[in-house]
Structures are given as structure tokens and as C-alpha cells.
């Protein structure tokens, strides 16, 4: 018999510490598979964030850094500028990337660093036990917005991909989801495309991946999927928002349509 689906080489066999049903694991696998399929594992250097995926260095079977909270894009910049022949990726949560690390992601994108950012948006701070993130949904209850996020006081969730899409510097920017098999299939394509573009030294690449946090959402795995579909998908539309091969006008138009959501 032929194995058509198995364990990717670019992951160690360590079991993750992620909660049951947490899609961090799925996303790790997509990254590892992409590195493997493109033959990049031996040149790859990953940057783990501070967040639930802080231990990512135990799971990826390639060279890794563990960065300070929010600073992964700066670490990747430093590494890539020193060794342009390496393949650099960061793996970051929404608190890490969109809150404390907002300046670093914005500027890495704007400088056009040839790195790949895997941005896991689960609308909450997972690791520290469920505080409000910049991507937390209006009305969503967290430990630091115990009465639900109130847009009048905390503002609306930040749509990072849309934000970065306004930058003039060429980039590959996509948003995908990770909660159903078909979403994973699309997500994987985007992740691989990002690494491919990096390997060709084309541009900055980032894939935002909508993810679940059953533990801090206080839901089962199945309920989480539903919550994501009902609350996050309408606000965080999926798609490729920017592609270096497409003209700005095209991307703007597509983004325009999606912004209506």
C-alpha cells in the first residue's frame, strides 16, 4: 500500500502541547509540508513568537529562534539581511503580531523583507489565558473585556491583511482559515505560495490564518468551528489581497469588494 498522507519531515515527532482541537497543530503541519514540498527545510530558519506557539521550536524540524513578544519580524529581518540565502519565517499570534508587535510587522512588510509571516488569528490571547486581542470580535467576552468587547471603548477588531494591503511595497498577502478540511486545503496553497515567492526572492509574504481557541473561547472543537464561521468569517473575509504578479489596481479592486463585508 502507498502512504498518501503521513508525517512531514519538517516536523519533529514531539507531540505538541496544544489543546485538543486547537488548529495551531494543523497550521504547523501546513508550514512543514510546504517547506518539505519546496525542498526548503535545510535552508529554513523559523522564528517562534511568545504565545501558545512559543514552543514551536520544539516542533519544527529546522533551525529555530524563540523571539521576544512581538519582535519576530525584526528578528527575521536581522537574520535575513545577514544571510539572504536562508528561508526565514515567523509564526505569530494575534496578540504578538497585531498588538505589541504592530510596528515590527508594519515595517517589515513596508521594507519588503523577503520573509514569510504565518499569522495565526484566533481572536484572543491564548497562552496567557484568554485576554482581549486586537482581533477580538465586538461583544466577545474575554477576561479583560468581561462584559464583551465594546467598540466604543476598545474599538473594532483590526484587519491586518487589509491594513498591510494599503502599503505600496509589493507583497503577497492572503487570508485563509484552518477549521475545516477544505479551508485547510486552501490555506496550505497560500502558505506554499508564500514560501515559493520567498524562495524566488520576490517580496514580503504573509498568510493570515483564522484559527480556533476552544479552551479560551470555552467551546468544544465543533462549537468553535461554528463560532468562527458565524463571527469571524463575515468580518475577516478570505482571499488573496495582494499578489506581486497582480497590478495594484486589481488588488485594490478585490480588496474593495471584500471591504464591503
Amino acid at each position: 500500500m502507498k502512504k498518501v498522507f503521513g508525517y512531514p519531515e519538517a516536523l519533529t515527532t514531539n507531540q505538541t502541547h496544544y489543546c485538543p482541537g486547537c488548529t495551531h497543530g494543523t497550521i504547523h503541519r501546513m508550514v512543514a509540508e510546504s517547506l518539505g514540498e519546496l525542498g526548503l527545510r535545510e535552508r529554513a530558519v523559523g522564528i517562534a513568537p511568545v504565545g501558545c506557539s512559543v514552543l514551536a521550536y520544539n516542533y519544527f524540524n529546522c533551525d529555530m529562534f524563540e523571539a521576544a513578544h512581538g519582535r519576530a519580524p525584526a528578528v527575521a529581518t536581522g537574520a535575513k539581511r545577514c544571510r539572504p540565502d536562508l528561508i526565514l519565517f515567523t509564526y505569530q499570534g494575534d496578540g504578538d503580531l497585531a498588538s505589541i508587535g504592530a510596528a515590527e510587522i508594519l515595517h517589515a512588510a513596508n521594507r519588503g523583507e523577503k520573509i514569510t509571516v504565518i499569522f495565526v488569528n484566533n481572536a484572543i490571547y491564548g497562552m496567557t489565558g484568554g485576554q482581549m486581542a486586537p482581533t477580538t470580535m465586538p461583544g466577545q467576552v474575554t477576561t479583560t473585556c468581561p462584559f464583551g468587547r465594546n467598540p466604543d471603548h476598545e474599538g473594532y477588531p483590526i484587519r491586518v491583511v487589509e491594513l498591510l494591503s494599503t502599503l505600496r511595497t509589493p507583497a503577497y498577502l492572503a487570508r485563509v482559515a484552518s477549521h475545516t478540511p477544505l479551508h485547510v486545503v486552501e490555506a496550505k496553497k497560500a502558505v506554499r505560495e508564500a514560501f515559493r515567492l520567498q524562495a524566488e526572492n520576490t517580496c514580503f509574504t504573509m498568510v493570515e490564518i483564522l484559527s480556533v481557541c476552544p479552551t479560551n473561547w470555552g467551546l468544544t472543537s465543533a462549537e468553535s468551528n461554528e463560532w468562527l464561521e458565524q463571527n469571524m468569517l463575515p468580518y475577516y473575509p478570505l482571499g488573496v489581497f495582494k499578489h506581486p504578479d497582480r497590478s495594484e489596481a486589481d488588488s485594490a479592486a478585490e480588496a474593495g469588494v471584500l471591504q464591503g463585508a
Binding site: V4, F5, T180
Partner: protein
């Protein structure tokens, strides 16, 4: 005939594979594994199409998929 193999020790019992399977091949065991989870079991293996959806959806890479010869692929992954 296609088949899946679940690594019982890796499984965290999240049931994502169960939800994913179009053929209802998988169900949860009534026993806990050593980590304390009710783990996934392919209790109706013959119905399996080898479509890989379960494996694709498993966050813990606890599922391997095997097929014989050529196989119609629903999805490209």
C-alpha cells in the same frame, strides 16, 4: 482498499477527524489513552475512500492514509 491508521498515543480526542469524514468511518473510543483522552478509531474502515479529509483536518497528525494503486482524489493537497 484505502485505509487510515490512527496513532492512538498522539490523538487528543478533538473529533475533528470525525467531523471531517464524509463516510462516517471514524468514531471515538470509549477508552482513555495514556494522556487521558478518548481517542479516534476507524470503526468502519471498509467505507473509507482514502480522501484524506480526516488527516488534513487532524491538528495532531495522528492519522496516516494508505491507498492501493491509483486513487481518485477529491482534493489536491
Amino acid at each position: 482498499m484505502p485505509k487510515i491508521v490512527v496513532d492512538k498515543t498522539r490523538c487528543k480526542g478533538c473529533e475533528r477527524c470525525v467531523e471531517a469524514c464524509p463516510q462516517s468511518v471514524i468514531a471515538m473510543s470509549k477508552q482513555l489513552n495514556e494522556k487521558g483522552y478518548f481517542y479516534a478509531v476507524p470503526f468502519d474502515q471498509p467505507r473509507c475512500l482514502g480522501c484524506m479529509l480526516c488527516a488534513i483536518n487532524c491538528p495532531d497528525i495522528a492519522i496516516e492514509v494508505f491507498v492501493h494503486g491509483t486513487q481518485y482524489q477529491f482534493i489536491e493537497y
